[in-house]
């Protein structure tokens, strides 16, 4: 099974292209390294469980998502299910250096695709 190793680093730009995510236009995805994935809609669960450099998959699309992603040093937030984000969120995310990505697919589909790329959340 393909898994992430040091010699097989997955970059955020590659994730965006491979699973057809839209860059919402906050901070640029660029070549940030993705360390894994965390999927949750409970902000405290993300605060407690996500690790730096992970991509956060969620259906939450309000302003506080940006604060959580910034404080946890996450690689990006993927907002699923075709939801749109308010301009105020993009402005805040730009200021904080947070990448916001939009997925038409459900959170389940997005997580499945991320798993196929070899990304994990190892305990």
């Amino acid at each position: 099974m393909k898994k992430v190793t040091n010699s097989d680093i997955i970059r955020l730009g590659q994730v965006v292209a491979d699973i057809d995510l839209a860059d919402a236009g906050a901070a640029a995805p660029g070549d940030r390294e993705v360390s894994g994935v965390y999927c949750s809609d409970l902000l405290s669960d993300v605060m407690g469980g996500a690790r730096p450099g992970e991509v956060w998959v969620t259906v939450q699309s309000h302003l506080n998502v940006v604060a959580v992603a910034a404080l946890k040093e996450l690689a990006a937030v993927v907002i699923c299910g075709g939801r749109s984000v308010d301009v105020s969120i993009l402005k805040k995310a730009s200021e904080e250096g947070v990448v916001i990505l939009l997925a038409k697919q459900s959170a389940f589909e997005v997580c499945g695709r991320l798993w196929e790329l070899g990304l994990r959340h190892e305990d």
Partner: protein
């Protein structure tokens, strides 16, 4: 500059209750200060989680709060004293999953009952003084430990 200053650093902040548009900003400011004073990445991560949870508790439940950040010889202390409803049963509030947040707030992904458990897990020492109908003071201490 050479090495950390021996002087004790003291900062004050204010949290406005019920305003979700600026919620998390005090935690962000504290995080930037900790980066500037050279706290270890692990310490900064633990403090970020704990202060964010405490800040959100104020935003969700209280009217306002005064925040103090003290950094001194390897110990970082953050005190958040709010005017708010107080906590009737602190032991219950510490239990994972217990929350008194409204349905509306839960829909935003808050009120999972993970706030105090996250704080207790991240801080090296926590004390909570609370008076129902007046407010709550939480003091969190963190050892500025180098990366394990």
């Amino acid at each position: 500059m050479h090495g950390p200053s021996p002087a004790k650093l003291l900062y004050h902040f204010h949290i406005v209750g019920q305003d979700f548009t600026i919620a998390g900003e005090v935690s962000s400011k504290i995080r930037r200060i900790l980066q500037q004073i050279g706290a270890s990445p692990d310490t900064i991560r633990r403090i970020s989680v704990a202060t964010y949870e405490a800040e959100m508790n104020v935003v969700i439940h209280a009217d306002e709060a005064d925040v103090t950040l003290e950094a001194d010889a390897g110990i970082i202390r953050i005190t958040i004293a709010d005017h708010g409803p107080g906590i009737p049963d602190v032991e219950k509030a510490k239990q994972p999953g217990f929350s008194t947040a409204s349905e509306e707030i839960r829909e935003m992904g808050f009120g999972a009952g993970m706030g105090l458990p996250n704080i207790l897990r991240c801080a090296d020492d926590v004390s909570i003084d609370t008076v129902v109908g007046e407010g709550t003071r939480i003091t969190m201490e963190f050892l500025n430990s180098p990366e394990a």
